[in-house]
């Protein structure tokens, strides 16, 4: 993902994102390193997709990288409690490959 995830930005990507990320039992890494603005409407989109993916038997992780504004937003709502969140891509991929590790 990239750009602004506000009401307009989420409106543009929600359907294709959900179709890609929440319709099959797969492992999905959502790359937020290019997101410049993450509002609660973007968080809700991610959480809804993660829940749908979970019901399908898949799993999601979030990659934040070095993005302090997005990191502080995710921390403020505690999203790491329900969706694994990483700053390092290899660690994120490892967690998806080995969810029990």
């Amino acid at each position: 993902m990239g750009g602004r995830l506000d009401m307009i930005g989420v409106g543009d990507i929600e359907l294709p994102f959900t179709a890609l990320a929440a319709t099959r039992p797969i492992a999905v890494l959502v790359d937020l390193t290019g997101v410049s603005f993450l509002a609660s409407v973007g968080l809700r989109c991610i959480i809804r997709s993660a829940k749908a993916l979970d019901l399908k038997g898949g799993r999601m992780a979030l990659l934040v990288g070095d993005n302090p504004l997005v990191s502080s937003t995710l921390d403020a709502v505690g999203i790491g409690e329900i969706i694994p969140t990483f700053s390092d891509e290899n660690a994120a991929l490892d967690s998806l490959r080995n969810p029990q590790a």
């Binding site: 993660a50 505690g78 409690e81």
Partner: protein, 150 residues
């Protein structure tokens, strides 16, 4: 060296439409910079503004849709630094955001409810939040404080 912000206020009126929120964001970013607000506070203030406007459109009722929303941005000295105040005035259903009891997500993904995250962000990022009703208008004032680096 950080320059001390100038005490004054900027105003903007927008329509209650998500297309207008980005105009409000641009106004806030440019105005905040001109007033000497730190970049970190501008980022957080922009997020708070976006969340407050989104809440108005989603939950403010029919009255919101037929009246413009007034915004005001200003800075003033506070003990040990400066404070930036953002005021949002609307004619929607009265609602005191400060009285909501919101908690971060916890437990399992299955049980998680994504409602209320916008107000949680506002309450987390601002230092003060004051709400009052004035002549059929709602006025919500949020304040963030910072200490200029020397």
């Amino acid at each position: 060296m950080t320059i001390a912000p100038r005490p004054c206020a900027l105003c903007l009126e927008i329509d209650p439409d998500p297309q207008e929120f980005r105009r409000a964001s641009n106004w806030l970013r440019a105005g905040g910079a001109s007033l000497g607000v730190s970049d970190e506070q501008i980022d957080r203030l922009e997020l708070c503004l976006n969340e407050l406007l989104a809440n108005l459109v989603e939950h403010g009722g029919d009255a919101v849709a037929s009246h413009p929303i007034q915004l005001e941005l200003g800075v003033s000295p506070v003990p040990n630094g400066f404070g930036v105040q953002l005021v949002v005035c609307d004619r929607g259903e009265p609602f005191d955001s400060g009285q909501t009891d919101l908690k971060p997500l916890s437990g399992s993904l299955e049980q998680a409810s994504p409602g209320g995250l916008g107000l949680l962000l506002v309450k987390t990022f601002c230092d003060e939040l004051h709400y009052r009703v004035l002549e059929e208008r709602n006025e919500l004032r949020i304040t963030m404080q910072w200490t200029p680096r020397s």
